[in-house]
Symmetry: C2
């Protein structure tokens, strides 16, 4: 076997390459263009190359979709009994496994007991509007999307010692009182009487809702002091003082995360759960193309020394062998490192071993009453923030005004995730309940939020995953070498890695799809198989820092 | 007849009054509580009072709902062939009438030609999360709601002479480059080395995305310079300079409106059109309660000199008379002023004549292609702003990713609305197309946005409406006297006015419902029929100012 079977670069290569490297539209800054492989050259009939895809995560499934569409014969080997990888949505009856204390044996930790119809996304939970690949695949596959609300001004922030338990600060107060105070401070420094300074003063008045003198005395942007009535008019409440705001260090608890491009409105989520994407991909590739998905088939070794690529895997209690022209690995690097790799370069093996996956936990709750939407809270979606180990608390962006709902009761990183992951599931839920009660006293009522309706996952302990995302760090010299290496195939263009792990967007499905498209274009010969001379290193810190 | 038929104040009055004046929850600032009349005393069987309700706007329908629910026998007289008043949604075949040049004869201006299934809200278009009454009635009535997206960072702003036609600035650039520059300016003034100043500097770094030196050199919050690829990393574009931002005076074109409490996330809209609220109210009151709605029944006079209230009205070409124990007028004040009022106090008649309704126009378009959602624009809901007379441009917050959609191509006030209202519908659409093309060149393609699929309304020329909302102005001494007067019934508690016009929220359905509840409580004897000694005056300026 040689790579000669792949289509040779053609006139369309340049246009595709241009599309893949992106065209800045006339509005500039960030308009993406998504390559369309439909115009790519197809292999001759009867000579369709075969591809083994290891792992049915979003990256693997996307590769199978694009290659399958062009007639490539694909087999996807997936060790788990479902496709999707970290794109997982918990529903009634779903079993959650984690590795035991020794880290080598999967143990059933608990089974999701949500009411039928309820669900919680355990992995990715939102799609930015500029993640054009995800949106395009959803359109192609008929996956219905609805807005994911990242921030509402009714959301709250709790910080121990600064906001009393059950009396956190509203987002609208923190955000707008801070704006007002900062604008007033700056306005006070402006001394000029020229036109420019006059306009700048006017801008600051609007920016911070300052009075004519450029002072801030509170704003109805922070909410009304009292509910309105025909003779009760909008009045600003006393503002939080800048001293209190600064002392609270609220900005260290992800408060400004929604300002970041990745979380700006309008975000989306699939109606019914994030795994609708995975189900639609799986259904499409297996029903329409020459693609087979083998579940509970765990890859053990990859051998590049022979003709094509040979993979051994365990399925149905037996060890089996498969050979193909190409192999695309969607296996997380820390897991891939545990496979027996033969015929790979030392540089590649080093690269696979260079990057760890980040620890991260989620907790989910079913609530039997949507108390957060009542007159007292008025919260419809968005996230509340806290310095408690749960870190953040999500409200559902779906089925508003219904009776019940699910909440993301923790989503943490680093040390908090490490510690929480070491706890037994019941203890994680107990910790998460403590944190939630700082935000909402309703969490003290076990009839409203019963213990048995909690779910929890420590992704760094999940078999075949071992973490939330590749923890790339540009300051790590080993990472610098590794990322470039991983963008180039091994074995004379026969073995490729895909996934958000091999993209500038670790932790995002867009990264997984981008990576899959890149590798598909390399396989098709539409892109060079060598990475550009200088490549940056992804920076996973944006996912975990206080922002 | 005397008002003795109404229930006498009881022990529940105090609790209702407390509810109506609002209880600040422990989170304080703005949590509303909505009165529930279900616990109110019901009239004795066979002695149910009768009520004539003039006008089937949201205020009139709400009064009919609450009184009907308690057994009151209500007749709603509505001059138009539909209920809802300014809550109107345009669909295929809907006829739009305006008064002719002389202002005295309704003329059919055009008929909506949207494709079946498309619609556009001509009046109210969104519901704030703290408008608890609207949300509660929607829940009671089974009206499905979905998020209304007020702002996305992909929205744009055009200002002639500052942004070239078709190349407006993105919201994310204006918002975040401004934040960055302002934060850097302030940071540069901080000289202290104490802990507080250190924290303040850190806050500014996060607030504005400044570098370690407290300087701003652009941020990916404003978008990426280039679309991402596996070897194309997030890079901030060159920021808009503060000089350019200040010179554009962008903040004078409503850019910061979404920061205002009334427009903060999460807003809602009824699935399928705002008039779903009206249809549900109408259906409920006529099917479940002793309420009759007579359409095309135009009130001509109200007489308080006899027993009860006598109203003459025109219906089916005849002049008819009706008498009832109470009368609730939902007629806009400028229209009510034209009725023959007998037995009213001079103070009341003066009050009715004191306030004008504000001019306002809307333009709507069907687009045969949702070009604004494509890779180039990436806009999903929200509003773009412009200094062109169209003032603003709304994208649909529903049916994302579908083929076609409707856009609000103008929503203006004051002089712009006056001038636009004077144009023939075809000329309004032509003007609106010019404005839209400054934002989106696609408006030059008549196949994408055909002339014949435009709709337009000048609310100040609509029969029985005469404007968008009561143009209350606290600086007008006549308004000060008038508002208080209008909160008190005429004719020994027999005649009441309702509507957003008699609330601190002119132009909002919440105001209409609040007013209706206030009057119902007065009729029930649960609230005093005299207004409080000092009452503020509503301020409609917030609706029309540049914010």
């Amino acid at each position: 076997m040689s790579t000669g079977k792949s289509a040779t670069p053609s006139a369309s290569a340049q246009s595709l390459r241009r599309a893949m490297s992106g065209l800045a539209g006339p509005l500039s800054s960030g308009e993406g263009t998504v390559p369309d492989f439909a115009a790519a050259p197809r292999p001759a009939a009867g000579e369709e190359p075969s591809v083994l895809i290891l792992g049915a995560g979003v990256g693997g499934l996307t590769a199978a979709y694009e290659l399958g569409r062009l007639g490539y014969r694909c087999t996807v080997l997936e060790p788990q009994p479902r496709t999707g990888g970290r794109n997982r949505t918990a529903r009634k009856g779903d079993k959650l496994y984690e590795l035991d204390g020794e880290g080598d044996r999967p143990v059933l930790t608990h089974t999701c007991a949500f009411d039928k119809g309820l669900y919680l996304n355990l992995g990715p939970g939102r799609i930015p509007y500029h993640h054009r690949r995800v949106l395009k695949y959803c359109a192609d596959l008929g996956v219905s999307l609805e807005p994911y609300i990242m921030e509402t001004t009714a959301n709250v922030l709790h910080r121990a010692g600064h906001t009393p338990p059950g009396r956190p600060w509203r987002n609208r107060r923190i955000a707008n009182d801070t704006r007002g105070h900062l604008a007033a401070l700056l306005s006070a420094t402006l001394t000029g009487n020229d036109e420019y300074t006059g306009l700048l003063r006017d801008l600051l008045r609007k920016f911070g809702d300052l009075d004519e003198e450029g002072e801030y005395h509170g704003s109805t942007r922070a909410g009304y002091a009292e509910p309105l009535d025909v003779h009760e008019f909008p009045q600003p409440a006393d503002p939080l003082s800048l001293t209190d705001l600064v002392a609270s260090e609220f900005w260290k608890h992800r408060f400004y995360q929604p300002v970041d491009y990745l979380w700006q409105a309008t975000m989306f989520q699939p109606v019914g759960g994030m795994d609708k994407i995975v189900h639609a991909l799986t259904e499409r590739i297996t029903s329409k193309y020459e693609v087979t998905v083998e579940l509970e088939a765990e890859a053990l070794s990859v051998d590049l020394t022979g003709e094509g690529v040979t993979v051994t895997y365990r399925a149905g209690g037996r060890e089996l062998t498969a050979t193909a022209d190409y192999c695309v690995s969607n296996i997380p690097f820390p897991v891939l490192q545990q496979l027996t790799l033969t015929g790979f370069s030392q540089a590649f093996e080093n690269a696979v071993g260079a990057v760890e996956y980040a620890p991260t936990c989620k907790v989910g709750w079913q609530a039997n009453r949507r108390f957060w939407e009542d007159d007292h809270h008025q919260i419809y979606g968005g996230i509340s923030w806290t310095d408690h180990p749960i870190t953040q608390f999500w409200y559902p962006s779906n089925d508003y005004f219904s009776r019940t709902g699910t909440l993301t009761g923790a989503y943490n990183f680093g040390e908090h995730a490490e510690k929480m992951g070491k706890l037994a599931p019941a203890d994680r839920l107990s910790l998460a309940r403590d944190g939630a009660a700082q935000l909402h006293q309703e969490f003290l009522e076990r009839t409203t939020v019963p213990d048995e309706l909690g779910v929890t996952i420590a992704w760094h302990k999940v078999p075949h995953q071992l973490g939330g995302w590749a923890d790339w760090d540009p300051s790590d010299e080993g990472h610098r070498v590794a990322y470039k290496q991983l963008l180039e195939p091994e074995g004379d263009g026969r073995f490729y890695v895909v996934g958000d792990q091999a993209s500038p967007l670790p932790g995002w499905q867009e990264g997984a799809m981008m990576s899959a498209q890149y590798v598909v274009a390399q396989i098709l010969g539409l892109l060079p198989r060598t990475a550009p001379e200088t490549v940056q290193v992804p920076d996973a810190a944006f996912l975990t820092q206080g922002l």
